[in-house]
């Protein structure tokens, strides 16, 4: 049969299918679909169809790439739009089919979109979905849409027309066409495919071979598998075209045995191609002879290297050999051989089908066409995507990928498989192409793309990828075999807290030599993950080495429990939770007191970073750690016997300037170390921001007072209403050390015209006057400018001060507000309004109110941080009228000039390890060093300062203490049943408004004990080495 006949027949069959009255259901049953239950869905549909006696063509198709929605089905009803459903389960599949086919009913909750000319109101077109819209599906054009086991489908969609065209050209013309298209190898190295073909064509030799590399083996990569499962003929067509161009008579497809479905589909396709006369002798009457054999590989990553793959086909151990000789001259069995990746071959078919001119319109100047990627990791839309080269990474991550799940922050994306590099957010602008990714230290690779969020430790991830490489190294060359091992050992040491500062240089040296010295691509790229993480996340390495701290709390050697590791003060969370569970709140409180002198305060207002890392959160919800801490502080009796110790008096005087959490914590520990501590506070009352910044409905004053009283009992003298003008003077007065902990109380001016008008206040000042017992006037309509926690506090205070109408003006989207979601929810519930995407640009006094001119903002391009840029909507100015405007645009420290200290961005510069300023005996800690931060961070900073000052004064710096009794027998780790945390208790709305009563009641004893049992007791888990 000649090609015209083949195609005519295929078209006729396809038309008949399209014009038939018989509905069609396509079930995505590639490996990804099957893993999600597609075959069960298929069976369920089959059963239902026979029950409802609907004659329907049920077909298994490949994957459209929306793995996160698998199983996906497509119901095609004659004359109607095709309907795509995702997350289909066998239980609902039958009903969905019946609903649409029989009752013409669409299930709006599950429908993904439609395909076809006509639309269903309210339902988007499938390819308008954010995940699909930016994609350009060239290689994947047929995947999920045709029956991969039916060559007719492929032929009907222009399949093999590329081969037919190639056969009408000379081999040189075919090569020229590939060159003009600008096709580059998709296997990773990106070498010009046309040139590669040309080298092989020109090589002397009578038996030439072409090989399709389908050995894809990167963890998390399944581009080739999916293509082979969804559209195997496109690969065969490319291989045939290449063979013709090169002059090869035999071809091999080397596919991993662990891809049984791809192999099955390939076998079917090969059989059909043979039957259609597309392989064998005298193909399509052209005189061209070509046979294709399928070879199954045993799954060695190194066999992705062409020379290793060739050795494996020859039956030898899959080890690479040095080039030259290049396979183009001496490859399989010493003959000229051309090897390309699955995707490259598929591209070659399209290029011949549609022409190089058409093809080269896609992509970037040096990287033409599209590239498929397997998008995986911490990303909402995991799946298989195809994008034109040049698409920025951020488009892939935030638009196609739908951003990071759970509201976490993006940290890095690893491109190109385990031998690629980790690209940080700063480079998310990079367009994805060979040169750009190389510039930032990574590679396109074969197309793995693994997204990491804040919970990923970059040292650990480097260790992970290196350990993969190390176990997949073939072992032939020394740098790869032994160098990666040494690097892995170093990384293991670092993740176990045993790293040494010189390790980083050694790592870099090894990495460089392995790159330069290794035999094949595997070794030459093996250190990339380490090199890039060292480049972009060196601070994480240093944290592991210098502070034994893993920011992401994942390195098992360092982290006994992620919660306590994440707690800046290092409170032993699992232990006190166990005491609570055993109904020993006294002991629980003692555990907390081992690390902080403010257990009650933290129980109320801590921003609980511990909960974000709680492993229970991966199962259902994090343990309510803050609430349990609060319970311990409320129910626990604080035993003075335990805490009263009589340290030897050092006879040294220490001055602490500022009585906030940082200053008081330091004072507390220094006093307990035997020093005479005097705290100087400029305000009339001690407490710093705890007192002046946090409203009483969150932190009642008497609770704060009680904790400060405890601190005083340790011998700390607090001199209120005493402003220190110069620490040097204090030294001169005989203080052996001075700690500056004056916080960050200076409001940041938002820079709005008219912000100095009467009626405009800064939130810090507003809250301070309120907290110091004043009753500021707010009027009827109060506005708060800002989106942080201070803005929320101010708004809720304004409401309580009697303003019936309180509005938060925020320039970005509400979802981008930095305030904690709990606080925002409380505020909204209490009646605070939020006007997002609104930028105040001027204030004017109008009669007895303030007119605020605002411009509407609109979200624009994604920023590398994962937030969208905002831009004013032209001519969108609006005016709002307010009685009071409270500006909450943040704070900075206000360090008196008389302190004569070096500042950086208004903060005091200190050695981060010792908290020492440039002046001898003068230390600083807390917000005044870090800028506005949290209570717990201030406490942690105070602890560091205490340690350092004690050492400075000749002490050991040991402030660790054991206050709780020994635990006794530790309970085993229970098999957790899925159960969320209790709903957060909160006062009824009616009881909240008009007063400053505490809005959040604590847990009851019963509730606390129950909640405590949800703890997974990570600290008791036994860690194996690997």
């Amino acid at each position: 049969m000649n090609f015209t006949e083949l195609r005519t027949r295929a078209h006729a069959e396809w038309q008949a299918l399209e014009n038939s009255d018989r509905p069609i259901i396509l079930v995505g049953s590639a490996t990804c679909g099957r893993a999600a239950g597609a075959l069960e869905v298929l069976q369920a549909i089959k059963t239902r169809l026979s029950e409802i006696k609907v004659d329907c063509l049920l077909t298994e198709v490949g994957c459209i790439g929306t793995c996160y929605l698998e199983p996906v089905i497509n119901i095609i009803k004659p004359g109607q739009p095709h309907l795509y459903y995702g997350n289909v389960t066998p239980e609902i599949a039958g009903q969905l089919v019946e609903d649409y086919l029989v009752n013409n009913k669409v299930n709006p909750d599950l429908v993904l979109g439609t395909v076809g000319e006509t639309l269903i109101p309210g339902i988007p077109k499938l390819f308008d979905l954010p995940m699909l819209k930016p994609q350009v599906r060239i290689v994947l054009r047929n995947c999920g849409l045709i029956d991969p086991q039916n060559i007719t489908h492929y032929l009907a969609r222009d399949g093999y027309s590329g081969l037919n065209r190639a056969l009408s050209l000379t081999p040189e013309e075919v090569i020229d066409e590939i060159k003009k298209a600008g096709l580059r190898g998709r296997g990773g190295a990106g070498f010009s495919t046309g040139l590669k073909w040309e080298f092989c064509r020109q090589a002397p030799g009578k038996n030439k071979y072409v090989i399709c590399n389908a050995d894809e083996g990167d963890p998390g990569a399944f581009m080739n598998r999916s293509l082979l499962e969804g559209d195997p003929h496109s690969v065969l067509e490319g291989l045939l075209i290449g063979a013709y161009a090169i002059g090869a008579t035999r071809g091999f497809i080397y596919c991993r045995a662990e891809k049984p479905l791809a192999i099955e589909r390939l076998r079917t396709a090969l059989k059909q191609a043979r039957e259609a006369g597309l392989t064998g002798s005298n193909i399509l009457g052209s005189g061209f002879n070509f046979e294709i054999e399928l070879r199954e590989g045993a799954g060695a990553f190194v066999c992705g290297e062409e020379t290793a793959l060739i050795a494996s086909i020859e039956g030898k151990r899959g080890m690479p050999s040095p080039r030259p000789p290049f396979p183009a001259r001496s490859g399989l069995w010493g003959q000229p051989t051309n090897l390309n990746n699955v995707e490259t071959w598929a591209n070659a078919a399209v290029i011949l089908q549609k022409g190089s001119r058409w093809y080269s319109q896609f992509g970037s100047p040096l990287s033409k066409g599209t590239k498929t990627f397997a998008l995986a990791g911490k990303i909402n839309h995991t799946g298989l995507i195809e994008i034109p080269f040049g698409t920025p990474l951020k488009t892939i991550i935030y638009d196609i990928g739908g951003g990071i799940p759970g509201g976490k922050r993006f940290k890095a994306v690893q491109t190109g498989g385990p031998s690629g590099g980790c690209v940080p957010s700063a480079h998310l602008d990079q367009p994805v192409d060979y040169e750009s990714l190389a510039k930032v230290g990574s590679i396109v690779g074969s197309g793995g793309m693994v997204v990491m969020d804040e919970d990923t430790c970059m040292v650990d991830i480097a260790r992970f990828f290196l350990s993969f490489i190390q176990s997949e190294s073939c072992g032939k060359c020394v740098p790869c075999r032994m160098g990666t091992r040494q690097m892995l050992d170093i990384l293991k040491r670092i993740t176990q807290g045993e790293g040494k500062p010189e390790d980083l240089d050694l790592l870099a040296d090894l990495a460089e030599s392995i790159k330069a010295g290794s035999l094949c691509g595997l070794g030459q790229t093996a250190p990339n993950a380490v090199i890039t993480t060292l480049r972009y996340f060196r601070h994480e390495y240093e944290a592991h080495i210098k502070r034994q701290h893993c920011d992401a709390a994942v390195c098992k050697g360092l982290v006994t429990a992620p919660c306590s590791h994440t707690c800046p003060a290092g409170i032993d969370v699992p232990r006190y939770i166990r005491f609570i569970g055993k109904n020993q709140p006294d002991e629980a409180l003692a555990v907390i007191r081992e690390k902080i002198p403010f257990p009650s305060v933290c129980g109320l207002v801590c921003y609980h970073p511990c909960e974000a890392r709680c492993k229970r959160g991966q199962l259902d919800e994090p343990v309510a750690i803050r609430m349990l801490k609060r319970y311990a502080s409320e129910y626990g009796q604080f035993s003075h016997k335990k805490i009263d110790r009589k340290p030897a008096e050092s006879g040294k005087k220490i001055a602490v300037i500022g009585s906030g959490p940082a200053g008081l914590t330091a004072a507390y520990y220094l006093a307990r170390s035997g020093h005479a501590v005097t705290v100087f506070e400029s305000s009339p009352q001690a407490g710093g921001m705890l007192r002046t910044g946090i409203p009483a409905f969150r932190l009642p004053k008497k609770i704060l007072d009680a904790e400060i009283t405890e601190i005083k009992k340790q011998g700390v003298t607090i001199k209120a209403s005493t402003r220190v003008e110069s620490p040097d003077l204090l030294i001169a007065e005989g203080f052996k050390a001075v700690l500056i902990a004056i916080g960050a109380h200076q409001p940041v001016k938002p820079g709005i015209e008219g912000e100095d008008l009467p009626g405009v206040v800064y939130a810090v000042d507003f809250l301070q006057s309120l907290n110091l017992g004043k009753h500021p006037h707010v009027g009827q309509r109060a506005a708060v400018i800002g989106g942080g926690n201070v803005a929320i506090d101010a708004a809720r205070c304004a409401l309580r001060l009697g303003a019936p109408e309180v509005t938060i003006i925020y320039r970005r989207s509400q979802s981008d507000m930095p305030a904690s979601p709990e606080e925002i929810a409380d505020a909204l519930a209490e009646g605070v309004r939020i006007k997002p995407l609104t930028l105040p640009i001027g204030l004017q006094k109008m009669n007895n109110h303030l007119a605020m001119v605002c411009t509407r903002m609109q979200p624009g391009e994604m920023e590398t941080s994962g937030r969208r840029l905002i831009a004013p909507v032209p001519n969108s100015e609006v005016i709002f009228n307010f009685d009071t405007v409270i500006c909450a645009a943040g704070q900075i420290p206000e360090v008196p000039a008389g302190f004569k200290l070096t500042l950086s961005n208004s903060t005091i510069q200190v050695d981060p390890e010792t908290m020492k300023t440039g002046k001898p005996g003068i230390f600083a800690c807390g917000d005044t060093v870090s800028g506005p931060a949290s209570v717990i961070e201030a406490i942690a900073s105070g602890r560091s300062a205490a340690i350092s000052i004690d050492r400075y004064l000749g002490g050991t710096g040991d402030i660790e203490e054991t206050l709780a009794s020994p635990e006794g027998e530790k309970p085993g780790i229970p098999e957790p049943e899925e159960r969320g945390r209790p709903r957060r208790p909160i006062l009824p709305l009616a009881e909240r408004i008009g007063n400053f009563n505490q809005v959040e009641p604590g847990y009851s004893q019963e509730l606390a004990i129950t909640e405590a049992t949800r703890c997974l007791r990570c600290d008791l888990e036994e860690h194996s080495d690997e």
Partner: protein, 871 residues
């Protein structure tokens, strides 16, 4: 030539650990990295072809940085026991580290603790020292082509391992030690090793390959043996016997050290004078036809020359022969008949030129291991291999065709192959017409061999025979290799001539890569024949019946010579049995174990009135002697050996002889002189050689001086300027035209019947040599193969109720032998196989002394036996 080799040639050092000149470039150690202008990155010098104008920098900062880290990495994992390591000062890792100036190690030392594989008796594998350069595995893959070791596992776990990661001893390793030789560090190291103080070049005393050796001597002991890279036959390679099996027998405490005279049935020590007087007196007391001298194919050319001269000039008898009679007698007879010369036509190295190799009746890798390497390398390079053997020898695995022939049916097979070639027009008619004669007679005799009949006789399927004919004829040049599977038959000479016919009809004679190549079994079996230790031929194959030649020798030796050809070796035992032969002077030979039908041999020897045995050990035959004379033997004497490819090579004295032992030639001369003869006043073998060269035109161009300078010469070498002859019959055949010999099929003398239902065929084990005189003195070889094993097919074993390892009794009409059974499909049904290395199980008690009528060579390869489980 690679950049690395070019640099080496230019005297520029580039460090490397995985490069070895015998091996394909590997590129694994990454130390030979260089910078090449215009080339990206740091290419390896070993894999980059050198080219005119290439600008290479071998010492740059970038290159040395990578080299240093690479060596640091290796050292981090390497034990620091350099001072006690057997490779100290030879270690290439040491050398490279020193070259790179490494002084400190930043990487932590890793304590590897892998058990040392000590299973092999001669060398150990300490993987803790291994740097995975793969020289050993590449050697095993592409030099010896054994494939016992390869790289296993991946990445850091990679290691050198046998199949299934079992101890080396339990693998197919053949213990040749070629891997060990190439190990750059101490991972593969000899168990016994002391550095020698000097090395002596000599030639191996085992098989006929003629491997050149370097005997490492320290004081008066051989402490090491290595292959001499300059040796033309072996290019430095050795087998297990040559490398590990020499020192132990040379220095064995069992060596004979003083003459012994049997008095009242017991040996007593005697002085040389007494012993020699006795021998001279006894030999002088008999008529020439009652005397015989049995010379030794293991002794030097000079020893053999003296032995035959003693027989002919002093004892006036042509009753002189050597054990070539019982192995390659038919070769001599057959090839002289067909070609005019009885020697191997082509040289060893030339086998690599063959497009097709037919290995028939030869277990080359076991019996001629180093030629086996050559054969297997040729196959790896693409040559076709046809194996014709009843047993599934190892070579079968590499063969394109294996014809499992029924023992003793070779003539039929070869003749039908010839017939098939002619029928399909594949012959070289031009060669037949111009270079050969008697073609019509051959054609006529082919009528007797229709394919179906031959298929039935040989039990080979017809299509395999057709395929073999096609392959041998189509892939030219084609070379035939054979050994005793062809010759040791009652139709042995026919077999040889059949092969000669086959080679001639395809024009496969006289060209590189072609030929008929009988591989000689013993180190100097070629030389013993060359020297005239044959009943009908003077040195240089000059007939005793030719009056002109006889006159030449009479003149030279100053005596009259017996014109009557003497008895062959086999005929001597019959004559002794009949008391026609009365006194024998036997040199370096153990006929009790090596002759067929042992009981008959013993009876014959006991029949003798006088037997003098000259030996290095108290052999089974020596025990029957009246006088035993201690010979100095290998490594304690100078001389020459002639290997299978007609190459005359020097052997040299390395250590003093044990006790009072004397060189064979000297003892021969002393006896002659005691008997009053003149012409035996030699004081050094070189003088003897000069006499040989003056009398035998084939050797006249060979002198000790040339042997020194040219490292062996292949005869014919007819003048001082003649370069020697690699390939025989290039222009014309030695006899003028090649002669086709019409043949017919004759079955073996003794075929299985109801009483003796199995065929016994015999052969060799890699680990032992001949009757075990030397190898049984080597403990390591005895560990590798400790006893006789009767190989028997599982079906036969099952029918006889024999289990693996059972002791069985093998009985023939002539005797019985107990041995352990080895059940293996290597042996076809109906056939059992034994070696003859073990005196505890003397296989030749079973074999048949029926002989080939032309050469009088016995039929070792076929006799009828029965096997029973021993109770």
């Amino acid at each position: 030539m690679s950049v690395l080799e070019a640099a080496r040639a230019a005297g520029i050092y580039i460090p490397t650990l995985c490069y070895h000149p015998d091996l394909q470039p590997y590129g694994g150690c990454r130390l030979c990295l260089v910078e090449i202008e215009g080339v990206r990155g740091l290419p390896t010098a070993c894999t980059t072809p050198a080219a005119e104008g290439l600008r290479v920098r071998t010492e740059t900062e970038a290159v040395n940085k990578v080299r240093r880290i690479t060596v640091e990495l290796l050292i981090a994992d390497h034990p620091s026991d350099c001072l006690t390591c057997s490779s100290n000062q030879k270690c290439e890792l040491q050398k490279v580290a020193a070259y790179l100036g490494l002084r400190e190690l930043r990487l932590p030392k890793k304590a590897l603790d892998q058990p040392v594989d000590d299973s092999n008796p001669f060398f150990s594998l300490d993987r803790n020292k291994c740097i995975l350069c793969a020289r050993c595995t590449r050697t095993c893959e592409s030099v010896t082509c054994v494939g016992a070791i390869d790289m296993a596992y991946r990445g850091y776990q990679m290691k050198v391992a046998t199949l299934g990661d079992r101890p080396i001893f339990d693998s197919i390793c053949q213990s040749c030690g070629e891997c060990m030789v190439r190990c750059p560090v101490g991972a593969l190291s000899p168990k016994k090793s002391l550095p020698p103080d000097h090395e002596i070049i000599s030639t191996c005393a085992y098989c006929g390959v003629g491997c050149s050796l370097l005997l490492g001597v320290r004081g008066e002991k051989i402490v090491s043996v290595r292959g001499n890279p300059a040796g033309p036959a072996n290019s430095g390679k050795l087998c297990v016997k040559g490398r590990f099996g020499i020192a132990d027998f040379v220095h064995s405490p069992e060596r004979l050290t003083v003459p012994l005279i049997k008095k009242n049935g017991r040996f007593e020590k005697a002085g040389w004078e007494e012993a020699l007087d006795l021998v001279a007196r006894k030999l002088g007391a008999y008529q020439p036809e009652e005397l015989a001298v049995i010379s030794s194919s293991r002794a030097s050319n000079e020893d053999n020359y003296i032995a035959q001269k003693l027989a002919r000039a002093v004892l006036h008898t042509n009753n002189v022969d050597n054990c070539a009679r019982v192995c390659h007698g038919p070769t001599l007879a057959g090839l002289i008949n067909s070609f005019g010369s009885g020697a191997q036509t082509n040289n060893i190295k030339d086998m690599s030129n063959a497009a097709c190799l037919m290995v028939i009746g030869s277990n080359t890798p076991e019996a001629h291991p180093v030629i086996g390497f050559e054969v297997k390398q040729a196959i790896q390079r693409g040559a076709k291999l046809i194996v014709i053997n009843p047993r599934e020898i190892r070579l079968v695995r590499q063969a394109d065709l294996w014809l499992r022939i029924k023992p003793g049916t070779d003539v039929a097979l070869i003749m039908v192959i010839i017939r098939l070639i002619l029928e399909t027009g594949r012959q070289d008619q031009e060669f037949i017409d111009n270079r050969c004669e008697n073609f019509a007679a051959l054609q006529e005799s082919l009528k007797e061999f229709p394919l179906d009949r031959v298929s039935e006789i040989t039990t080979i399927p017809a299509e395999q025979i057709i395929a073999a004919a096609k392959m041998y004829a189509d892939y030219r040049p084609a070379s035939i290799l054979y050994t005793l599977g062809i010759t040791e038959h009652t139709h042995g000479t026919d077999n040889v001539m059949a092969l000669a016919n086959l080679a001639m009809i395809t024009g496969n004679v006289g060209k590189p890569g072609s030929g008929v190549n009988p591989l000689r079994g013993q180190n100097n079996v070629q030389g013993a024949c060359d020297m005239g230790a044959l009943p009908g031929l003077f040195p240089g194959y000059q007939s005793v019946t030719n009056p002109n030649l006889r006159a030449k020798f009479e003149k030279a030796w100053g005596c009259t010579l017996n014109p009557q050809p003497g008895l062959t070796l086999t005929a001597m035992y019959r004559a002794a049995g009949e008391k026609k032969l009365k006194a024998v002077y036997l040199i370096g030979e153990d006929p009790v174990l090596s002759e067929p039908d042992m009981h008959h041999t013993i009876a014959a020897l006991k029949n003798l009135e006088f037997l003098a045995v000259q030996e290095i050990f108290m052999s089974e035959t020596a025990k029957l002697a009246d006088v035993v004379l201690p010979a100095s033997g290998f490594a304690s004497d100078d001389g020459t050996f002639t290997n299978t490819e007609r190459r005359v090579q020097r052997v040299r004295k390395a250590v003093p002889p044990p006790g009072e032992a004397k060189p064979d030639w000297e003892i021969g001369c002393l006896i002659a002189r005691k008997m009053g003869a003149k012409g035996f006043e030699f004081t050094h073998p070189e003088q003897i050689w000069n006499e040989i060269a003056s009398l035998a035109p084939s050797f006249s161009g060979i002198s000790y001086q040339r042997l020194e300078e040219e490292f062996g010469l292949q005869w014919p070498c007819t003048s001082a300027s003649h370069p020697g002859t690699c390939i025989l019959h290039t222009e014309g055949f030695t006899r003028g035209k090649g002669q086709f010999i019409p043949l017919s099929y004759r079955p073996s003398a003794e075929l299985p019947d109801n009483d003796y239902p199995l065929i016994l065929t015999t052969g060799r084990s890699l680990y032992h040599y001949h009757t075990g005189t030397m190898t049984r003195q080597v403990p390591g070889l005895n560990r590798l193969r400790s006893e006789e094993l009767v190989e028997i097919n599982p079906d036969d074993a099952a029918a006889l109720g024999i289990d693996q390892g059972d002791m069985v009794t093998v009985t023939s009409r002539r005797g019985r032998v107990d041995s352990r059974a080895k059940i293996t499909t290597d042996c076809p049904q109906g056939v059992v196989f034994m070696t003859f290395h073990f005196k505890e199980s003397p296989t030749n008690a079973l074999t048949n002394s029926a002989w080939d009528p032309i050469s009088q060579t016995p039929e070792y390869k076929v006799c009828a036996v029965k096997v029973k489980k021993k109770r």
